[in-house]
């Protein structure tokens, strides 16, 4: 149907602007730099560790792992150990056992680990930046170049035109996240070997009554964990894309719209300090972007802030942005 051709139009425009290529190029460069850097620092850490411990820690990891397994087993059996810690202990034991069975040194980096960590690190700033590069001038660009006149004076209702742009953005978001995954896995594979996808990773952390609850902790294979991480990445991309899209519609200058959304993202870093004291900051979208932290349990537990909360807040922002964009675009007089 016509919407399909409209989306095709928009994708062709984006490709011709070379914008997508540019984003992918940035991804490639950054991932390569990260992988190379990690490789270097890993070599350095190994050297440091063996110097400090007086033993070549890398080779003796098996002994250490065995010892840890025994200790943990004792801990589980002991009548005095806390029930709440048993689950996380078991999980840790599974991981150690896997490493021993597969003969994988836990200090070693793998393509799978790198791929996952890359998205965990990128999700709150770098990924939004890439998305903004695509979305910021989707609408404002048409105003500044004047092409909006020819776009809108067609026998197509305005909302359909805007919808085609929005759906194009969603399509590109999937492509970017997918590409990040593939590029990270492939490039880091050259440095660290292409394995590690079956290693167990701990997840299942929950926030109960403002504290970290580890009773439901379990292991999932790395590929599944990675999939979850990248899915959260896509969700964040979707939300940030929607908000940036709305700003592009409201503010008809590309430069201004980029400036606005970038500064709110950066401000998020500072505002996160006030999360416990100033309740209203929790409802801002930029402090809820670190969804992958909920998966890995590496976050400061704050009363009321858990995965479901953050996802709901973000979804609310996305929906509001979409509504505002459409209402504004269809109603406004185009004076360009």
């Amino acid at each position: 149907m016509k919407l399909f051709s409209l989306i095709e139009n928009e994708v062709i425009k984006m490709i011709s602007k070379k914008r997508l290529m540019f984003v992918l190029a940035i991804l490639i460069v950054l991932i390569s730099v990260f992988a190379y850097g990690q490789n270097q620092s890993q070599a350095r850490t190994k050297a440091q560790l063996s110097q400090r411990m007086g033993i070549s820690a890398t080779d003796d990891w098996r002994k250490l792992a065995d010892q840890q397994l025994i200790d943990m087993k004792n801990r589980l059996d002991s009548p005095y150990s806390d029930e709440t810690h048993k689950a996380s202990t078991r999980v840790r034991m599974e991981q150690l056992q896997y490493n021993l069975d597969q003969n994988i040194n836990p200090l070693e980096q793998s393509a799978a680990k790198f791929t996952t960590t890359f998205m965990e690190q990128a999700i709150f700033l770098f990924l939004p930046l890439l998305i903004i590069m695509l979305s910021a001038d989707m609408v404002s660009g048409e105003y500044s170049s004047g092409t909006i006149k020819l776009l809108v004076v067609r026998n197509v209702p305005r909302w359909k035109i805007l919808l085609s742009k929005y759906l194009t953005l969603v399509v590109l978001e999937v492509v970017v996240v997918f590409s990040a995954f593939v590029l990270a896995a492939v490039i880091s594979g050259f440095f660290f070997g292409f394995g590690g996808w079956l290693a167990p990773v701990a997840t299942g952390f929950k926030v109960v009554a403002g504290k970290l609850d580890t009773t439901g902790v379990l292991n999932v294979p790395q590929w599944q964990y990675s999939l979850m991480v990248y899915s959260l990445g896509f969700f964040v991309a979707f939300v940030v894309g929607s908000i940036s899209f709305m700003i592009s519609v409201l503010v008809k200058s590309t430069a201004a719209s980029i400036g606005i959304i970038m500064s709110t993202l950066v401000a998020g870093n500072f505002i996160s300090f006030f999360l416990t004291d100033w309740k209203i900051t929790r409802y801002m979208f930029m402090v809820n972007l670190r969804l992958t932290d909920y998966l890995s349990g590496s976050f400061q537990p704050i009363e009321g802030m858990n995965m479901l909360f953050s996802v709901t807040v973000l979804l609310g922002w996305a929906i509001a942005s979409v509504i505002i964009s459409f209402v504004y675009f269809t109603k406004q007089d185009i004076m360009v």
Binding site: K13, K18, S145, K149, R154, N155, M335
Partner: protein, 305 residues
């Protein structure tokens, strides 16, 4: 005319930021009509045109195209329009053909053959596959026209369409418009500052000033108003003589110049009379009325409000 109106503006009004820019415009356009829309800067021309194509929503009044109201039947109404608003802004990073394909994709009635035909019609067949960023102004204008007529619209709206074209191009354009209007039955609505162009191209014109249409007339009628201009030493006496002997009303233009429409009266007899009465006649000539005269007349002393 027996055919239904292609464009109907009914009491069209627009207020922007408290100021009433368009104060109630009424207009009707029929097929095969080439219509000129004139006015000084700030008169509300562009605003009116934008309301016709749906870029701006009227504060009051309605725009109907081929019977379809823009407010209620946007898609059907717009299916009958092709337009160029000020400069035709194309996607610079696409080729000429790429741009046309974009517009064709939005309208299923446009076939590949039609695109080819249109490209030939505007004379771009050799350059259409180059990026628009390499086009000259004239080429962009042609591409703009191409995009406007792609869907064989019943109403063609052109805002400053000959901007950037060289004289040959302007003539070509005029012929193309005539062809579209008379052979394909398109109604054409042209707004331009080039009064001579309008005069040569259009059948009828409207002049808008400060948001209201102050005159609508057929171009032929305007041009037939021939006037005579005399330069003499005593204009008042000449005016009195004309009134007395031939009941002709003359107006004094500049210091020693008078002008009047003498209709069927013989010019030689009038001149003879002037000289017999002792007037020193230094200059006498026929002045063909132009649109410019009419325009300046009507919009004289106008400030941009």
């Amino acid at each position: 005319m027996p055919q239904p109106a292609v464009l109907e503006l009914t009491n069209l009004k627009k207020t922007i930021k408290g100021k009433e820019i368009v104060k109630g415009v009424n207009l009707t356009l029929y097929p095969s009509q080439i219509f000129g829309f004139l006015g000084p800067n700030g008169a509300g021309k562009t605003t009116t045109i934008r309301m016709i194509v749906g870029l701006i929503k009227p504060t009051e009044g309605s725009v109907t195209i081929c019977g379809y109201s823009i407010a209620h039947d946007f898609v059907k109404a717009l299916s009958n329009i092709g337009c160029i608003i000020e400069s035709p802004d194309m996607y610079k990073y696409l080729t000429g053909m790429g741009n046309l394909l974009q517009f064709a994709a939005m309208d299923k009635t446009i076939s590949q053959q039609r695109i080819k035909d249109v490209v030939e019609m505007v004379g771009l067949q050799h350059r259409v596959n180059d990026k628009v960023s390499t086009f000259s102004l004239g080429m962009r204008q042609r591409l703009g026209i191409a995009q406007a007529i792609l869907s064989k619209p019943k109403l063609l709206i052109l805002d400053e369409p000959t901007n950037g074209l060289d004289p040959a191009g302007i003539t070509e354009f005029r012929n193309l418009i005539r062809k579209l209007a008379y052979e394909e039955g398109m109604a054409v609505f042209v707004s331009s500052h080039l009064l001579l162009e309008i005069q040569q191209m259009c059948d009828s014109v409207s002049i808008i000033k400060q948001g209201s249409v102050i005159k609508t007339a057929n171009v032929q009628d305007i041009l037939h108003d021939d006037r005579i201009e005399w330069q003499l030493d005593n204009p008042e006496k000449a005016i009195a003589l004309l009134r007395e002997h031939w009941a002709i009303e003359a107006v004094q233009l500049k210091k020693n110049t008078i002008s009047s429409d003498i209709g069927q009266h013989p010019l030689d007899k009038i001149n003879e009379c002037f000289i017999k009465e002792g007037l020193a006649l230094t200059y006498c000539s026929t002045k063909q009325n132009t649109l410019e005269d009419l325009f300046l007349d009507l919009t004289e002393g106008d400030e941009i409000v």
